[in-house]
Structures are given as C-alpha cells and as structure tokens.
Assembly symmetry: D3
Homo-oligomer: 219 residues x 6
C-alpha cells in the first residue's frame, strides 16, 4: 500500500523537509510513504490566488499517481474538497489533520505560524472544523525568509514563540503551521516539554487510519 504526499509548491526543499519529517515515523506506518513535488506549483503558497490556482493541477496529479491514499501537503489544504469529491480513495489535508490531532490530545493548542497574514485563514479553517474552543492562540514567527534556512535561529524563534503560547496563552500542545518544520519537532518538544504536532506526520497517521477503517465513501 502506498500513501502519496504531494507538495503543491515547486520547492524541492519543502519536499525534502517532508521526507525527513516522515522518516521519524516511517517504520510504524504500514504503507509506503512517497513524496512528490508539483513542479508547476508556485514557489510558495501565500496568497489566496496561489491556493485557488491549485485544485485542478493537484487533482490531476493525484489522479495520475497510483496510491491508496493521498495527502495534500500544504498548510492551506488547497483542493482538498475537490479531490475528496472526485477521487475514490481517501484524501487528507495536512492542516485539517494537524488541528484534529491536537483535539485528540485534549488540550488547547497553540499555532506557530510563519507570518501574521495567515491568521485569518487559520481561524476560518479551525472554525470550519468546529474546534475553535480548543484554540489557545495563533502566534507568528515573522522571521525574514533569508533566515529560514538557519536551523538554529529558526528553532530558537519557535521556542520563543512556543513559550509565549504555553505560558501566556495556556497552550498544552503546539502545531507547526507549515509543511517544512517537522524536522525540528524532537528538539522543540524537548525544550518546551509539550507535545508538538507536525502536520505532515499527522496527515500520514490519518491516512493510515482511513486505510484501515475502510469507511464507505462519504458523499
């Protein structure tokens, strides 16, 4: 069995980060976890125009890729409802999977966002899932893009923001609001003493669950 993770932006570095993150859990998922890049996607997915351009390219790629389940690996879940409606196999969005994983932990969660611009989009999706009462707060890293490659700086800033989420906002878990930060998960958990949710890993888990449960197709 195969679970296919499609990074809908064209950055190979994001896909590489997904692969590294999945390496942490690969031995305990009874399926092959395959990652791919949507080369025709935009380099980053920041505006609604990026999101709304993606449903059909994503659908087409998923349709062309043999897999028992698909994961759309971008924290905006572009094309999720379209692909669910058109494909026979389960389709997971990483943001939806991360929020619902946080609910499973029973605590209020904090979101570590790249920038403040995504707060509105996050709140809309959290409400859409019906789990707003679990949201402690959403706080942004606001790191200059050029420093996103310096792991130590990024981790230090995530820990700083995570500390605020934990101590001021009462967060009992953290969600990393991006497909490429899972690699830092173990270190952040160790430093903050909180469970940290990588959305790519959460989606892998949810895909495996749906493969096992074999629900009839939801209209």
């Amino acid at each position: 069995m195969r679970i296919h993770f499609l990074n809908p932006n064209s950055s190979q570095s994001t896909t590489d980060a997904m692969i590294t993150s999945l390496d942490q859990i690969r031995d305990r998922i009874p399926a092959e976890l395959v990652c791919a890049t949507l080369e025709e996607g935009p380099p980053g997915i920041e505006r609604q125009a990026h999101v709304d351009a993606l449903p059909f390219p994503v659908l087409e790629r998923l349709r062309a890729t043999p897999a028992e389940a698909h994961v759309i690996s971008c924290f905006s879940d572009p094309g999720l409802h379209l692909c669910r409606e058109e494909l026979e196999v389960p389709v997971i969005g990483i943001a939806e999977a991360a929020y619902l994983e946080a609910v499973q932990l029973g605590r209020r969660f904090g979101v570590v966002s790249i920038g403040r611009a995504s707060f509105g989009r996050h709140l809309r999706q959290i409400r859409q899932l019906g789990v707003e009462s679990f949201l402690a707060a959403d706080r942004a890293l606001e790191i200059p893009v050029v420093q996103m490659n310096e792991a130590e700086r990024v981790i230090a800033r995530i820990v700083e923001v995570g500390t605020e989420l934990r101590d001021r906002d009462g967060a009992g878990s953290l969600i990393l609001g991006c497909a490429s930060m899972g690699v830092y998960r173990p270190e952040i958990e160790a430093r903050l003493g909180l469970p940290v949710i990588d959305p790519v890993q959460a989606a892998a888990i949810r895909a495996a669950a749906l493969l096992a449960l074999r629900y009839p197709r939801l209209s």
Copy 2:
C-alpha cells in the same frame, strides 16, 4: 454608485430571478443594482468541481466590471476569498450575507436547501463564520428539477419544509438556500409568519452597508 451582481452560472433564468428579487428592495438601496451572467460558467453549480473552476473567471469578470461593490451571486460563494484579496472594492458572497443577516435577527434559523447533497458544504460555511449555535436545522426540498419552474408546487413545498423547520426544529427565521427563490419571499413570509431571508437581497444590503462604512481594506 453601482453594485454588480454576478451570477456565476450560465442560466439566464437564475439571473432573471435575481433581478425580480432585487426589484423588491431596489427603491431603498442608494446604488444601482446591476445583474449579469457569467456565460462561461456551468449551467448549475452543484459539485465542488463547479465551485473550484470559478474563482479566476469570476475574478476576471469582476475586475472588468466597473462597480463600487461586487456580489458573487451563488449560494456556494465561489471565489469569494480570492476576489476579496485581489480587488480594492468590497466583495460579498450571498451565502455568507444570508447567514449573517439571520444572526442579526437574533433567532435560530432554518435553511431551505435544494438537495441534501449540500448539507455538508452549508455546515462547513456556517461553522467557518462562527455562528453554528444559530442553526436550527437544514432541510431539503428534493424537488425534481423539472418541477422547479412550477411556482405553485415550489412554494407549496417550501412552505411544507418551512413548517417542519419552524415547528419541529424551532427555527425563528428561514434562509432560502439558492439565488433564485427570492421571488417567493413575500408569499412564504405570509404563509409561515416568519421572516424569510433571500440571500441575494441580504447581499445587496451588506454591499450597501460596506459602501457607507468605508472600512480600511482588510488584509
């Protein structure tokens, strides 16, 4: 000043119904209310594939149409967030406007849907707006398409469903879940004794409000 209503499906009959509905309130809106049809749209908007094909055609059309505000006149609000982000003037979706108008009335609302298939999409949007506690229930007409032109049958069926929403589910107002039923509003209100919300009219009202209030552009 002009408010532009775009029917994103290609059916002129829907556009005509919008015009008739707006005739009920036109004298009390301080703007010209202009309706148009997106000829390249699908004949009806039922599947997610219809919705997801529309953002850019809708955006392009809105951009090309001089107006102080735009209304996307389909109960799935296709392209709403894209157009809001890309255009300088206010953009309204008729479903969002209808749900929020119902909240203003202070009562739980019932939704009169064409078919059961849209229940999931409606619930997602109601939750996204944060107003699920105002939803009494969503019930479907399930009328064969061929009878949708027989006004008497349609009204009789809406009254039947509305009675259930009022008496069994505790609805204190009704939302007509489609862009083409506003023409029946006065008769349904008279028969049921409840305020009835036509989403096209609700959007006209909201557009006029935003024109008056002149908020700074929301990012």
Copy 3:
C-alpha cells in the same frame, strides 16, 4: 424616508457628536438622518437607574416623532425591547447594532469602554445576542471626565487601549463603546490598522437595511 436618532441623555454635546459621526456616512444612506436630544433624560447614563427610567419617555418620544425607523442612541439600548413591541416601525439599539456589525467582520472584536463599571452590562448583552465567542476582551479608558473634551488625549488613550486589545487579546476589530466617539474613527483606524465600529453608524446601517428588507413585524 427618515431615520430618527434619539439621544436619550440630555447632553447636547453627545447629540452633536452623533451628528458629526453620521456626517461620515450620510451621503450613502438613502434616508434623512435626524438627531434629537431627550431633554428630560439624565445628563449621562451610567447606572441601571438611568437605564430603567428611560423606556417610557423614549417610547413616548419615538411615538411622537414621524420616522420610518428609530435608533435609540445610547450604548445601554434603553427601552429597546419595549419600543420594538409597541411600535410598528423598526427600532434599533446602537450597542446591539455595533456587536452584530462586528460579527459580520468575522473576527474577534475588542470593546473600548469608558469605565470598568460597564463590563458586566456589556457581557450580559453580548451573551444575550449569542455572540460571546466573538469577544476578544473589554478594556476601559478610565479617563477623568474633565479630559474627555481634549480630543488628542482621548485619541491617544483609545489607541493605547486598542493596541492592547489587538496585540494581547487578539482583537481583529474595535467597537467604540459610547455614542460620542465616532468622530475619532478615521484617525483610530489609521493608527491601529483595524476596522473600528462606531455604534451610531452601525445603527444607521442596520436601520437602512431593515427599511429595505421590509420584514413582517416580529412578535
């Protein structure tokens, strides 16, 4: 058509502030906006005894004033339910209108109150409307009355409180919790980068909406 705004306190300066605030939107409301003072009202409305003395004087005055809609222009909405029940035309309270306008914006709102003493009354009304989940926080200016006429000091203090509401409490919009602060709206919006809701303007908008929609009278 005429919308009648009654300031139920006897301070002409409040009525003047309402007029100035309405001047910002007057050109876009298809009705004459007329403001009046209830001379027999108290100079200010701070205690419940002030609020509870007003329903019948307000009703009598509204009844005697020809208008297609009435606005009770005090943030305690005195006499609102009585006037709604007794009069044939729509009656709006400015606090109710402001809270519901904030909900339309989809974000959590902050309330800028004159003093802490009104927190309890505000929370009761916000809950009564069913929209407590949209409340970010209520914070007070606590400005000595003598300084309320020094515009610069007032604006500076509103900006200070608004900054806390935005950055600490996560407010995405602000409500000015008084009938006389609308005049500062443009400057506050510019300095804080948030939509700011003046309750008098919000009520004008809502009155115009109800005039257009012509609901059957709600019992």
Copy 4:
C-alpha cells in the same frame, strides 16, 4: 432573618400559589419566607410594557420592606438589575434562579411555558446567563386562561408537554415557566420521573445561599 417574595402582579391567586409552593420547603430554609403582592402591578405580566413599568415600583416596595434578601417573583425578573444595584441586600429573580438551578443538575433542561409569545424573552435571558448549551427546548402549554384553574387539566397538559420535552428533545429536567405552578411539582415529578424546578423555590434556595455566603457587594 427574613426573605421577602414580592409578586409584582396584582393577582392574589398568584401570591397564594407562591405561598403553597414555599410550604413544600419552608421547614428547611433558615429564614422566614414572607410573600406579598404589589397591588399596583398589572393583573398579569405578559408584554414588555408590563415588565418595563415595574422596576421603580418594585424597587420602592423592596426598599420599604425590611428583609435580609428579596425575591422578585415573576418569570420576567422585572427590575432585577436595578434593585441589585440600588439595594444593599441580595436580590434574586425567579427566572434566573430557575435556569441556574437547572444547570446545577448537569442535564439539559426543558422549559414549560404558558404561551409561545414568551419564547423570545426566555431565549434572551438564557443566553444572557451564558447557559444556552443546557437548553433542550422551550414548549408552550397554550391553555385557555379559563382552564388555568382546573388543576387536573393543567397537570395533564404539563405532563403532555413534559413528555415531549423529555422524549423528543432530550430534556433531563423541567422548569415550570411561571410563578404559580410550583404546587403541581410533586405530582409532575412522580408522573415524569424527572426533577422539576419551581422557580419560586429555586429563588428561595438561592437567597438562602447568598445570605450564608455573605459575598462583598458586587458592583
């Protein structure tokens, strides 16, 4: 110590019913429970005009009546907030007390109302208290006034409505939505197998609690 119950309508029969209801619990309240009628009140309290005429007469009477706590004994709680603000001793409204007693039982409650006209007022108060999630449903007796004296008919109708609230709406307790039905409480509890809350008794309990707890005065 004395708890003073003021029936703000002028019907001695209501006051008599209150006395009979309080007889059920009198031996277990460490205070004298004294009932009085506001002779200048209206014969019944049905419209907002009745409610809004009462705050000052009620306040005056309470002020003139020596007691360690006062109960306003009408399911519309007229004058509650005024009396709380003006008097040094605790003041209880029977509706507020009944709703909060129901919350203490941990189950969803059903409201047995006299007529449908009060549904809106009830929902506003339930929301104001922040306990809407405990409301199963509000259903009305709609008994012709002339039959309200025929105990057997009234009980039979309450049981009928209570059965619907229990079996269709999932109510785990019932609130009798009027000051004069407490006398039927034991029989209704026996027939329905649910705890039944008489608002007059609930207010007595709450008054006794506040006398014991001696909170500092809440502003």
Copy 5:
C-alpha cells in the same frame, strides 16, 4: 510491536466479539493486536460500582502484560486516567477513541446505546472531551438481554435507531456504544449509508497513531 486490548468484564463472548471486529482491520495495523479478558472483572459493566472497582485490577493486568500500547476495551473507559499516569506506554479508552474518531469525520454523530441508563455517563464524557457540539443525539436500543445474541434482531433494531438518529436528529455518523457490536458494522453501514464507528477499531487506530508519533509522555 503489540497492542494489548483488555476486556475488563469477564465475558468471553465480549472478547470474542472484539477479536472478530479487529479482524476487519488487522491487516492494516502494523502491530499485533492481542485481546484478553479480565477474568476477575464483573460479567457486565453497568453501574458506577463496576467502573470504580476496575482501575487497579486493570492497571495491574496492563502492567503485567508486555505491550507497546494498551486499550481498555469497555465503553466506560474504566481506569483510563490512572493507567495513563502510571504506565510509560500509551493507554487508550475505547469510548474516548470513538468520540474523537467521530469528530475527525466532521459531522454530528449519533450514539447507539444499549440502554438509557448510560446517557448521563456518555454526556459527561463527551463534554469532558470538549466535543459536545458534535453530538446529534444519544438513543438507546433497549433490547432485552436475551435477544442480544440474535444477530438479525439486533441489527434490525440498530438500523431502526440509526434511522431516527440520521433523519430526526441529523446525525452524519453513528457510534456503536459498546465493545461488542463492531461485528455488525459493515451491514449497518450498508443499510444506513453512514459511516459507523466501532469503538474497538477506533481505539486500535489511535493506539497505532500514538505508537508512530512517539509523543513525549504527557504529565
């Protein structure tokens, strides 16, 4: 890796039903799924006295059983919080797992209970998890125990109750409120057209997820 399911009642027939239910998903869980019976448990777990007698016997048995994760396989989740606090490996309760699986499906869920007596306990746990807004309704089979072995009767009754939950209460999924009904899942799903959640399977899924995610131990 091994996931150990402990049936804390002494009925081998329940354990057998669990085994049959797990057979449906065993091929897609990357762990050995081992079921055992707590012979010293009560024959059935119906009263709080049964539940409260179990924490230490369950803990002792789990401690003595080598496994990478444990499932307490009774819809009352007896001993769950104790075992979580005392053991190093993940411990899952089947009721908690079922409710949270339902939340993942995004729809309101209906609960199919054995008898009405468990409604209160279910509501308490659903609220404790913070997901009461997802509950459509809880309805009971009320089948005489002697008929619980006649599969056809049981299925027919579940379908009857499930139809009510779906059509009257608006449930979009069903939870089977007992450890021994999973064997009927495929047939019930086929007849009702809704996803059906067997709590034992849901717990297996959750255990596998926690094994993969390897959170630091939650205090």
Copy 6:
C-alpha cells in the same frame, strides 16, 4: 438534620481548616455541619492513584455515617459518582459545587490552584460540567509545601495570582482550588474586591439546597 463533610485525606490540619471555614457560615445553614477525617486516606491527594483508591473507602464511610447529606471534601471529588449512585441521600463534591457556584455569579471565574499538575484534571471537570465558557484561567501558586503554613505568605501569593487572574485574564470571581484555603477568604475578598469561592462552603450551600428541594432520586 446533619450534613457530613468527609475529608478523604488523612491530614487533620485539612479537616481543621474545613471546620474553620464552615464556621463563617454555620449560623445560616439549617443543619449541623460535621467534619471528619478518613484516617486511612493518603496524607495528600495528588495523583490519580490517590483519587482512584478512594471511591469504596469513601462510600463505606459515608454509608456508616448517619447524615441527611454528605460532602466529599477534596477538590478532586473522589468517589462522587459512585456515592451518588449507591446512596439514597444527596452527595456533593466540593469542586463541582465551587464551579457551579461561580456560574451562578454570572462572571468568568479564575481558579487558584496549588500546582500546575492539576490543570488538566480541572479542565476535564470544568468541561464535564458544561461550563468551560465561564473559565477565565487557571493559575498555580507553586508555593513550596513548607510555606503553606505561613498564612501571610500564602495570602500574599494568592493575592498576587488573583490579581493576574483579575487583570490579565478578566476573571470576575476566584475559586480557591483546595479544601483548606477558605479560612483566607475574607481577607482575599477585601484585598481584591472580587467574590471568592471556598469550595467547602459552596458544597455546604449546595447540600442545604438539595435537602430543601427534595428532588426525586436521579438515576
């Protein structure tokens, strides 16, 4: 009539503190308030293992103690549901009573906890009661045990934490999250200007209410 308070830990100092706290209200409760210590209990109740060891010892002791109502006087409410099910007379848990007393006050409440470790357990119980929307925040004293006997230090620290709850978190009342802090209530109320809830007193009030209301036994 007698209300029996059982301290389920073995520390006589806790029982003494309960007695002193009850002295504040004893004259206004129409029952004898008797406090006892469960000598076989643990010295303190901190872990779930302490809580889960208590239901049957507590039940046995309550059963052996003649009283018209029982209070389990530990903020973890050990054995509450068991004792309710098994005994004919009302049984109260002090934590449940405190949370519901706070709801009666109509404001958001803050919890003053001994240590952070109890936050999770508190949140679970607050949710279970359905009143999470009333929780402002839970903050911990984190005082070294050795200093818990120095009244001045303890009061100073409670005031410090209470100030944060009031000013940063918006708490309108405080709950003392332990059976032994009621003795400080008057001083804390005076310093903070907020109503302060001692759970032991709140339970006494609730027991007296149930004795008066004589509900039929809830299954």
